[in-house]
Symmetry: C2
Subunit: 114 residues, 2 copies
């Protein structure tokens, strides 16, 4: 990962919820999607994702179901819940406020668009 991993903290949950807000997905697919949508910036690790999915399911932000693919391989799909969407919305607002604050320190409003 080109980006210092320590900058990532806290974003993984938001990004996963965002993916699932568009369509149901299985874990491995989320890793691929995040990589594509971020132009190879994000390389979310399997060891990070799966425990996180379990936690989010326990917190009732996601539900899961198994589905057999064409090749008879079983995949575990995740679906976002109403509570998950609410949480996503909050996280997005936090993200906006946070980036605005950082950019404010980094050199005023001009920084973000420079």
């Amino acid at each position: 990962m080109a980006i210092d991993k320590s900058l990532l903290t806290g974003s993984a949950t938001m990004l996963i919820l965002k993916l699932l807000d568009e369509t149901n997905m299985y874990g491995y697919q989320m890793i691929e999607e995040l990589r594509k949508k971020s132009n190879n910036t994000f390389e979310l690790k399997a060891g990070t994702l799966y425990p996180l999915l379990h936690t989010l399911e326990q917190k009732n932000m996601l539900t899961s179901y198994e589905e057999t693919a064409d090749n008879a391989r079983v995949r575990k799909y995740y679906s976002i819940t109403k509570f998950g969407r609410k949480h996503l919305k909050e996280k997005k607002e936090e993200w906006k406020a946070y980036t605005a604050a950082v950019n404010g320190v980094l050199g005023g409003a001009s920084f973000a668009t420079a």
Copy 2:
């Protein structure tokens, strides 16, 4: 702090270096400046700042000197080094790339300006 603290990870160093890139400061002053410049979004804790300043000095990104204020109180001022400025530049580029990637996932280029 309105913002989930977990979103902060990794930014403290960059923000401190940025403050010192403008003018020399002492620790307590940095906390105040960050709070002001971020419209009360950042409340950097003393217990976070001081160990971080010591670490950055050990890494030769900062140097320090003591100065006595009008009221005879001794303050420890920090000054950014050439190496510190180089590091700041790198961190700023990482920050830009990271926010671009997150915004890319969150809904395309339109998100940041929405």
